[in-house]
Structures are given as C-alpha cells and as structure tokens.
C-alpha cells in the first residue's frame, strides 16, 4: 500500500492532441479517489498512465516514494480492473484469479490458498472451476475484482468497472466495491463518467474536463461548493439551473435581475461573500439547485416577494418521493458544456414556444402543480451559487 502522486503530468499524443494538461493529484495511502468527467475528458488516459499502459509525456508519477514514469507495468505493483473485465476466456475462474501469482512464480499451494481466500471474500467459491463464459455479468465483475485483490497490490486502478452491468446490479456492486476497498485499505483510483458512482464511492472526487483538473474535494463539498460553473453543472442530477443575470444594488440589498424578474440575495450570503458587491452592475452567472426551488403554495409561512418567481408548469415528472417540475423563465441560460460534448452529457437546454428557457425544480410530492397552469415558486436565496461569467469560477470570499 502506498500513496499515488501525479505531479504536473501531461499527455500529448503523437498527432499533437493534448489529452492531459498539468494534472496534479495526491492520492493518500488507502484513499479512494474517483476521477470523473464527461467522455473524452482524459480520465481513462490518466488512469492508463498510472497503470503504465500509456506513456507519460511530461511530469512525474510517484507510486509510494518511487518515480515510476519509466517502470514497466508489471513492476509497478498495481492491479487494474477493466471496463470489459478482460478475463482470460480459456481459463477457469481459479486460473484467472491466480494468473498473476503464477507468473510471479508464487509456490502452488500458496496460490491455491490465496485464490481460495479471494474467492471466499467475493462469494465465488462455487464458481472456481467454471469458465468466464458460464458466468453472469455480476460474477464476471467479481472475478475481475478477485484478480485485483489476490495480488495485494500497492494500488487498485479501476476503469469504469460497473458500466457494463444493469442498473440494479450496478447499485449492489457499487456498495460491494466500496466496502471491499475500505476493508482492504488499498489506495484506489477509480474512473467513471457516472457522477452517482463518483459521489457515493469516493473519499474524494476529482472532476476533469478536457484534460484539465477542475476541482478535487469530498463529494459533499463538491456538491455544496462547486469551484466553477462546470463542476456546478456536472455534479448533481437533475443538474443545477444556471442562468445569466445582472446584479443590482437597491435599498441596501443586492438583487439578482434575470429577464423580467428578480430575487434578493439573502443578506447572509452577501455578508459571507463580500466580493459579490464588486459585481454590482455587472453580468453574473447564478446557479440554483432544483431542490432549492419549491412550490410557493406549499410554503408554511408567507414568504416575501423578493424570493418568489411566477411562471407556469410545462412538464411534470412524478417520481413518487418527489416531483420534478419544468417551468420556463425568460432568463438566458449559461451553457456549461463545450460544443464538443453536446449530445453526450450536455443537458440540452430546451426552450418553450416563446423562446424562454426551461428550468427544473424538485418539489415535494404534495405539490399541486398541474401541466399548463400558472406556477409560483419560492427560491431559497440563501443557497444560490454565483459565478464569474468571464472565468467561470465561483465567486467566494
């Protein structure tokens, strides 16, 4: 077990494509770090560089205290779980799990012992003599895990190991892998494009976009205090409503003006973020999480109009425990994704007939909102996020 450190790591492909730019990551001993981002952001490349399957163009990679840039994959003492499991189809489960030990010339009785132990942990004991082709998807996934844990490596590298499982099994394996990692205490770098996996599994989450590291933090901090507009939009489902607005100062309070409506920023927020005042009279990007928007009819106490917006309901998605309500506002949306990612992860900002952008709120199931009916919403103005439109960074402090 050891720490894994990436220091100013770069990857430039021979065709000139710069896949990773100055990536700095410090994965502590025993930590579970999730690398997340839309497809094409370089997260798999970063993982493969740590594994030694991809050459490092610049910077240094440490595993333990050793620089391993030019060390052969087999000498890095790491284990990798592949997206497609990469099981050896002509070998039994036991041979698959023991393959690395056999190559390392571990004595046969010890191999058997260690394979048996790993199989017991993963609930594979009855399947040891079967071939991968006879196993279900979840079992194959476990064999791939078994191959990794049997080696007792310094670090686990996992490349979207759950993406080939169906939704239900994915939730189960998510918990199993996270639990296994905690029990074994092996440093883990886990790559995924699924932000739910990232949030639920990682001790910390690193968000990557086009080869640039956006933010590394605990899942809750990432959600509550996104460092920039990309992280804000990427983490969370449904994603944060991001709209262009202007700040104005009237009557001592600071107001957010978007389209024809406005909201007063809570004085506490202004007090906590004094730099917000420097944006008065300027454009700004406001982010509001869907759960910070509620149906005004359900408000227990009458709220002042300065946190209230009027609109109408265009779509209702009742999920039982909550209701996702879509409504138009004449505020201009802020597109977070580059054109390159559109159609993949970008949530296409739909517009209504009048060209107003559709935003999303997460209401209590008791909401009486009806399709096509007028709607009044309350915004929790203490929980609004503000971003500088020129840099995309959060306005804080």
């Amino acid at each position: 077990m050891a720490q894994v450190v990436l220091k100013d790591v770069n990857k430039v492909y021979p065709n000139g494509y710069h896949a990773i730019s100055d990536l700095n990551l410090d994965i502590a001993d025993g930590e579970f770090l999730v690398l997340v981002g839309p497809s094409g952001c370089g997260k798999s490349t970063a993982l493969r560089m740590v594994a030694g399957l991809e050459e490092i163009s610049g910077g240094e990679l440490y595993i333990g205290d050793r620089v391993v840039n030019d060390v052969h994959p087999k000498d890095r003492d790491i284990a990798m779980v592949f997206q497609n499991y990469a099981l050896y189809p002509h070998m039994t489960v036991a041979e698959n799990i023991g393959f690395a030990l056999k190559l390392a010339k571990v004595p046969k009785p010890e191999i058997e012992e260690r394979v048996r132990k790993a199989a017991a942990v993963l609930d594979l004991t009855e399947n040891l003599d079967r071939k991968p082709g006879q196993l279900s998807g979840g079992q194959r996934q476990r064999v791939a895990m078994g191959r990794a844990i049997v080696r007792q490596p310094k670090a686990f590298l996992m490349d979207e190991p759950l993406s080939n499982l169906d939704a239900k099994l994915r939730v189960q394996m998510r918990a199993e892998i996270a639990g296994l990692q905690r029990d074994l205490g092996v440093t883990t770098l886990y790559v995924t494009h699924d932000q739910v996996e990232a949030m639920t599994m990682g001790d910390r989450v690193a968000v990557l976009k086009r080869g640039f590291l956006q933010q590394v933090d605990t899942p809750q901090n990432l959600y509550d205090k996104p460092g920039n507009v990309f992280v804000a939009g990427f983490i969370g489902s449904p994603s944060m409503n991001l709209m262009k607005a202007t700040l104005s100062d009237s009557g001592g309070g600071i107001w957010v003006q978007f389209g024809s409506q406005n909201l007063e920023v809570s004085p506490n927020t202004v007090a906590a973020n004094p730099s917000l005042r420097s944006f008065v009279g300027k454009d700004i990007v406001v982010g509001i999480r869907p759960e910070d928007i509620s149906d005004a009819e359900l408000a227990i106490e009458e709220k002042p109009n300065d946190s209230r917006l009027t609109t109408e309901t265009t779509l209702i998605e009742a999920l039982g425990s909550e209701v996702i309500v879509h409504f138009p506002l004449d505020a201009e949306p802020f597109a977070i994704m580059d054109a390159e990612f559109e159609g993949e992860d970008a949530v296409e900002q739909s517009k209504d007939a009048q060209g107003r952008t559709i935003y999303v709120g997460r209401f209590s199931p008791r909401s009486r909102a009806r399709m096509g009916q007028p709607l009044t919403i309350d915004v929790d103005t203490t929980r609004m996020h503000f971003f500088d439109p020129s840099t995309g960074n959060a306005i804080r402090g």
Partner: protein, 332 residues
C-alpha cells in the same frame, strides 16, 4: 431518486476495442405461421439437397468403379453395377508393395511433405502475426505490407530459380574483384522431400501471416493489457493467451495448407523429378494409368486412397472450429 443512466460511448481510440458487434442470428427468418415456416424450410432444403446430390454423383461413380475390375469398367457404366461384379482386387493391386504401381510408399512420402509443410508455416507465421499485430516497432507497417504483397508473386515463376538454388546454392561474384561469395551452399536437395516442403513452406508464409494476423489483431486489447499488468511478457502472452485463443484459425489454416500440400502436383514434379522413391501420391496416381492408359481401371481405387488421409485430417480438425471460444471474455 431516478438517476439518468448515461451510456458512454467510448470515443477515445484506446477504448475502441469493441469487436463484439450485434449477434447476427440469420435463422430468425420465418417468424410467420407454422405452415409458412415449414414452407420456408422446404424451399431452402429441397434445392440444397438437389445440389448436394449433383455434386456427389461423380464421387459416387468413382467409388463404385473402384470396386469393379478392368473388364466391368470397360464394358458398362458404373450405374449398371451388379453386386456380383464387386471386387477389392483393384485395391489389392494398388496397395501391394511388390506392384510397380504401389501407393503405400507414396502415401508416406506425401505425409513427409504435407506435415512439415503445415506445421512449420503455422509456427513461424503465428509468431510473425503476433509481432505485426501487437508489438510496436519501427517500420512495422511497411514490413507487413511487403510481406502481404508477396501474395502476388505467382508460384510458377519461382519454380526454376528455386530448383537452381537447391541444386547449386547461391553465389555472388563481387564486382571488380574476381571473388565469388557463397551465400547458400549447394545442399543438393534435388529429388528430396525437403525441397518440396521447403518450397511449400515459403509460399504459404504470406497467406499464413495474413490470415493469422487478421485473427490475432482482433483479439481484445484489454486481455493483453491486463496480462501485461499481471506481469506477462510478450512470450508469455503469446504462449498462454494468443495460442489458446487462436486455435480456431490455426485449425482452419492447418486444414487449408495440409490439403494444398497433399494435393500439390506441380511443385512435387519439379523438385522430385525422376526420383521415383520420393513420389507423392499425386504423381503416383498420375503415372498409374501407364502407357496408352492400359491401367486406367486402377485410377478410381488409387484416387480414393489418395483422398482418404485428407478426410481424416479434415474431420479431426473440424471440431476445433468451435464458435464462441471468446465468449465471456469481454462484455456481459
């Protein structure tokens, strides 16, 4: 909470290993009523059996004639056969060691040509194919193209130069020095089986490399990368993964190459010439009919003996054509 499941399409080149396309199940044709399905099956099967029958008739005639003596063959066609005519004397004559027309030695000669001519190209080509497919070295593409373009060289133009090489070796006179260098000595291979299988081996190589490369380069990259992390070097990957996973294509090539070497006449005739001790079955059968075809009645039985070994090879290797050997390796 409902999570939108985003199915990421692996866009980067390194993730593009998906060689498991949609399963093509062609048999899902007749999904109509049972009578419709039955009619559909009938329409497929009847013409197929008709074609099979037409194709089988000449062999059947040959087979029946191989059990009829000279007189019977001369007097009536094979379809006029009467059971009392049948005899195994033709086979006796052809197989008996004392006869000048003996097939026994020639079968051994043919084996002595076809077995090395099958195994050696496979052994060399498998290594070469793995190298071309999975080892990155300078000039790989050019070397591969050069190898494959040798497919275009016709065998016939090389026969005489090869024969000269076998009987005289290769010598180069260095210009202006009057000195002659011997690159390949005179091995005096004319008339030997070695000359035949060596030629077969050489000419099989481009196609063998091409065929095996196509298959081996299609094996999932993940498996090799996983093996590398597990501590395998190229040789281990080749012996422990590539060879066992390539059995279907190795068997396919072995069948083709064995049949080709077994049935070859031209190379054997050129290289062996008049050395009757080393005649393979093909030359022996051709010589069997004798002057003015007076022994032509022996040809059917000799032809069946000639065809017997390839049938054994075919049916014994056929079981390696198991499909789905890769099932369970990648994807769920």
């Amino acid at each position: 909470m409902a999570t939108p499941v985003i199915n990421e399409v692996p866009g980067d080149a390194d993730a593009a290993l998906g060689n498991d396309g949609p399963p093509n199940d062609m048999r899902k044709g007749g999904t109509g009523s049972t009578t419709g399905a039955r009619l559909h099956g009938l329409l497929t099967r009847v013409p197929l059996w008709f074609i099979v029958l037409i194709w089988a008739i000449p062999s059947l005639g040959l087979f029946i004639n191989s059990f009829r003596d000279r007189q019977a063959q001369n007097q009536s066609g094979w379809w006029r056969v009467v059971p009392s005519d049948l005899t195994i004397s033709n086979y006796d004559t052809v197989l008996s060691a004392s006869s000048t027309a003996s097939m026994t030695d020639s079968v051994l000669n043919s084996l002595g040509i076809a077995i090395p001519a099958t195994i050696i190209p496979i052994a060399v080509a498998a290594f070469a194919a793995y190298g071309f497919a999975w080892i990155d070295f300078k000039g790989r593409n050019w070397l591969f193209i050069a190898t494959i373009s040798l497919l275009a060289i016709p065998l016939q133009v090389a026969l005489l130069p090869l024969l000269k090489l076998y009987v005289g070796g290769a010598h180069v006179t260095v210009p202006f020095t009057e000195r002659t260098l011997t690159l390949i000595p005179d091995w005096d291979l004319q008339g030997s089986l070695t000359a035949v299988w060596l030629t077969h081996t050489g000419f099989a190589m481009p196609f063998a490399i091409f065929l095996l490369h196509n298959y081996i380069s299609g094996l999932p990259r993940d498996i090799f990368e996983s093996a590398r992390i597990d501590g395998a070097d190229h040789f281990t990957i080749f012996t422990k993964l590539v060879l066992p996973l390539s059995v279907p294509v190795l068997a396919a090539f072995a069948i083709f190459q064995f049949l080709w070497a077994w049935n070859d006449y031209l190379i054997a005739l050129t290289m062996i010439g008049s050395n009757a001790d080393n005649f393979p079955t093909t030359i022996r059968v051709a010589n069997l009919s004798g002057d003015f075809g007076r022994n032509a009645f022996l040809l059917p039985s000799a032809a069946f003996i000639q065809a017997f070994i390839p049938l054994i090879v075919f049916f014994s290797l056929q079981r390696f054509f198991v499909k789905g050997l890769l099932a369970g390796s990648v994807k769920g």
